[in-house]
């Protein structure tokens, strides 16, 4: 009988380049899921993804109600793009979404970061994007390890059994 050797995943390096709540959550769920399984996790936030680790923005992430073809009314009817453009609609829809997630015991963004770092996961910001948005270390959530270059990010990805995931 053929025996196949298994090479389990040892480390994930997750890049989050978007600031919409669903994209940030995708990165957070994957990072947290990794540390829960004993897999090392490094999270790297760049461009609009930086909102997720910016003190002023991290509690206010939103979902796009315009240009989002998967957006539906409660009940499943299509969500008109024009409606999505009315002031306050995006905030209202985002609040509804957060409410639904709270019901499923999904943590808030800051709490999720606490959980990931409690498990040894590390959070990084992209230097180029931070420079572009004029963000300094003190503007970022206190659990952020460092602001690093893309080269340093690849150094973090060293070792066999590492995967890089782009969100």
């Amino acid at each position: 009988m053929e025996t196949k050797e298994k090479f389990p995943l040892k480390k994930v390096c997750i890049i989050c380049a978007k600031g919409a709540i669903e994209d940030v959550y995708a990165a957070l769920v994957m990072a947290n899921g990794a540390v829960m399984e004993g897999i090392e996790a490094k999270l790297f936030f760049t461009f609009f993804g930086l909102d997720a680790i910016t003190k002023k923005q991290m509690k206010k992430l939103k979902t796009a109600t315009v240009g989002n073809p998967a957006m539906r009314m409660p009940g499943g009817l299509p969500f008109p793009t024009l409606l999505g453009g009315i002031p306050g609609v995006e905030a209202g829809v985002s609040a509804m979404m957060k409410n639904q997630m709270a019901k499923l015991d999904i943590p808030t963004v800051p709490e999720f970061f606490e959980m990931i770092t409690a498990g040894g996961g590390e959070i990084y910001a992209c230097k180029l994007a931070a420079d572009m948005f004029k963000l300094k270390k003190e503007d970022l959530w206190e659990g952020v390890t460092d602001i690093i270059t893309v080269g340093q990010f690849y150094e973090l990805a060293e070792g066999q059994g590492t995967q890089i995931i782009f969100v």
């Binding site: 899921g33 540390v35 829960m36 015991d105 709490e111 409690a118 498990g119």
Partner: protein, 103 residues
């Protein structure tokens, strides 16, 4: 389902070693399974295990967050007690099924 002798007791386990029937669990079984992970169980470990067993028998879905807000241990503490898979390993030692939650 396979039969396995753990701490001198014959129990039914699945292919990953989780007990099929939580009622077959004993403290000795917990100590024995913990050895597979090089863990020596302390009073604190057993407090977590008791909490997990009670929550499972109440039909609750266990998450890291739930255990972290149980008042017994915070999430960091849970990682320290059961390194390398806090919810998975603690559930196995507690004789309850493998957790199915993503958070």
């Amino acid at each position: 389902m396979v039969e396995k002798i753990i701490a001198g007791v014959t129990v039914n386990v699945n292919n990953e070693g989780y007990l099929e029937n939580p009622a077959q669990w004993t403290k000795d079984i917990a100590l024995e399974i913990a050895k597979e992970y090089n863990l020596t169980l302390t009073e604190k470990h057993f407090q977590v295990i008791d909490y997990l067993r009670k929550a499972h028998l109440n039909g609750e879905t266990l998450t890291m967050r739930k255990v972290g807000s149980s008042g017994i241990v915070d999430i960091k503490g849970l990682y320290e007690l059961f390194p390398g898979g806090p919810l998975k390993i603690s559930s196995k030692i507690a004789g309850i099924p493998k957790p199915t939650s993503c958070v």
